[in-house]
Amino acid sequence: MNRPDNVIDVQNVTKTYASGALQVQALRGLTFTIARGEYVAIMGPSGSGKSTLMNVLGCLDRATSGTYKLDGIDVSQLDDNQLAEIRLKKLGFVFQGFNLLARTDALRNVALPLFYAGMPGKERERLALERLTEVGIGDRARHKPTELSGGEQQRVAIARALVNDPAVLLADEPTGNLDSKTSAEILALFDRLSSGGRTIIVVTHDEGVASRARRILRMLDGVIISDTPS
């Protein structure tokens, strides 16, 4: 299949929230593209609209106007079920708070997207174990999140995000809950994934994290104010 070079193609995207009688314009017409294999950081202070952009890019929310093509698919007009399908097949999320299922071991956490994809149990576990090994904690597969360190938990979360081989890995403050040493390890993992060809978008307000990306989009008041290589 002929895959487009631009994994993300955003044209004139706006997002307006109705907050009571008040109309809040969170995104005021963004246009940018991200090529396959890029490692991009989105930066900006609170209220700049970076979280909203993250939600739109992550297909958790729809743009009010404009078009957004993810891996060649126009997702602007899709319904909730179709968006869920896109998230399942094309996206991998890494959150600040890890968001692993408690009382569920690492392997099952990683296999969860495959469960929703309808893959048989054995196959799920095989792929999940592969990913866990890839992020360096294959030996911790049967441990529950409470038995893992913060860095290990985030590795599990990254493995989960990668298990469906997504077009884009979306990370929201991936090191926000980690100490500096563990943060460095996670960032090193991102570097490795990036050099392996993975498309990564990191939303952060940490310059140190952003500097690891090869391109930084800075946002303020719902617009992109700069788009520079780091």
């Binding site: 992550g58 909730d80 079920n81 869920a84 998230r87 959150f95 968001n99 299922l101 995000a161």
Partner: protein, 401 residues
């Protein structure tokens, strides 16, 4: 689909304590209803068994209450011969007689059932010593008696064998009766159910008549039909014969009535307990809904994560629905097993001891109740929490602390 059950089972097992607490109400409710059903079935079987085992060929006939001429309807000695001769299949007719009175055996004084008996025995208890009342006793209206095992053990606690007391006497008031026979335990202990009408101290009905009933009419007559005779037919014929003779109305009464009354009594108890159980199940269902709603709220973030990684709303709905289903299915199954267990204990330990027989376990009813309630509880109380979970907005849910 099957994988949803495994996934749901994992979630429930991971929250074992809460899962168990959730279903306790359901377990108790279902166990109550089912144990009562099983016990009621056992009781019904016991009642049937008792009347099959008893000499069911006896009935009593007496004037209907509140009719124009009570005097004309009154039953007298001549009616005994009349019924005996006019109704084919009747073996014996005696005045109905039974008195609870103090019976004296020298140093023991006990209140016992005292009454008349025919040489054709109305009693079904086996004879263990001596003889039964015979035609001569009846004809001569002798002062002899046959006593029951109950009378024997209470009047003669020191006697080692029933035959020891033959020839000894008991006193009722100033009258003395010589013991000629002792009866053993009835095969079915109808006395324990309060259904026994046979006398502890039975004297010839003629003796009883001469001493206690002479000159007065009887309350009723007792009729003994031939073995295997159609009781209803005997009853209606007797009723007709007496009606014609007296120009009055009569009614009859037999063990079947008692059986029906007892049966009706137990089915009413079953209904009441069933209704209470049903209410408790509604409460249990609300409990499950409550816990599931709490669970949905607690797991808001988890639901957000599931949705973010690609779960469709319908998949989340199904997951929570299956969790409710598993909870109620497990609760109802446990309740069913406990209920059947309790029912069997009641049947074996209590009912069977009285009657020697009980009904079987009404498996069909039991399973229908358990499966029915599990389905109902899930549908009624599991749907809403599942819907709430499915409806959550992933962004909001992920932000939830």
């Amino acid at each position: 689909m099957f994988s949803y059950f495994i996934e749901a089972a994992r979630v429930l097992l991971a929250n074992r304590t809460r899962s168990i607490l959730t279903i306790i109400g359901l377990v108790v409710g279902v166990a109550t209803i089912i144990s009562v059903q099983v016990a009621a079935q056992g009781m019904a079987g016991a009642v049937n068994g008792i009347f099959k085992g008893t000499n069911a060929n006896t009935f009593i006939v007496f004037p209907k209450e509140r009719q124009g001429n009570n005097v004309r309807a009154a039953l007298t000695l001549s009616d005994l011969a009349l019924v005996q001769q006019s109704v084919p299949g009747v073996v014996s007719v005696i005045p109905f007689s039974q008195l609870r009175t103090m019976v004296d055996a020298g140093h023991k004084r006990v209140r016992l059932r005292f009454g008349g008996e025919s040489d054709k025995r109305f009693s079904t208890s086996p004879l263990v010593a001596g003889r039964t009342l015979n035609a001569d006793d009846i004809a001569a209206a002798s002062a002899v008696c046959v006593i029951s095992d109950n009378a024997f053990s209470r009047l003669f606690p020191d006697a080692t064998s029933p035959s020891d007391v033959l020839g000894r006497s008991v006193y009722v008031g100033s009258k003395r009766y010589v013991i000629v026979g002792v009866q053993g335990k009835a095969k079915l202990d109808t006395a324990a159910l309060g259904l026994d009408v046979s006398s502890d101290v039975a004297i010839p009905y003629t003796t009883y008549y001469n001493t206690y009933q002479r000159g007065s009419s009887f309350f009723a007559i007792s009729v003994l039909g031939a073995q295997g005779a159609n009781l209803t037919s005997l009853e209606t014929q007797t009723q007709k014969v007496l009606s014609q003779a007296h120009g009055a109305q009569y009614q009859y009464f037999d063990f079947g009535f008692i059986a029906k009354t007892v049966g009706g009594f137990f089915s009413i108890i079953g209904l009441i307990v069933g209704a209470v159980g049903a209410i408790s199940l509604v409460v249990a269902g609300i409990g499950i809904m409550n816990i599931m709603l709490v669970s949905v709220t607690e797991r808001t973030r988890e639901i957000g994560v599931r949705k973010a990684i690609g779960a469709r709303s319908s998949q989340v709905l199904l997951q929570f629905f299956v969790e409710s289903l598993l909870l109620s299915a497990f609760g109802c199954l446990t309740g069913m097993l406990i209920g059947v267990g309790l029912g069997v204990i009641v049947n074996k330990g209590f009912i069977a001891r009285i009657s020697g027989v009980t009904g079987g376990i009404p498996w069909l009813e039991v399973i229908v109740i358990a499966v029915g309630f599990a389905t109902l509880v899930t549908l009624v109380f599991g749907t809403y929490p599942a819907y709430r979970a499915a409806k959550l907005d992933p962004i909001e849910a992920l932000r939830y602390e």
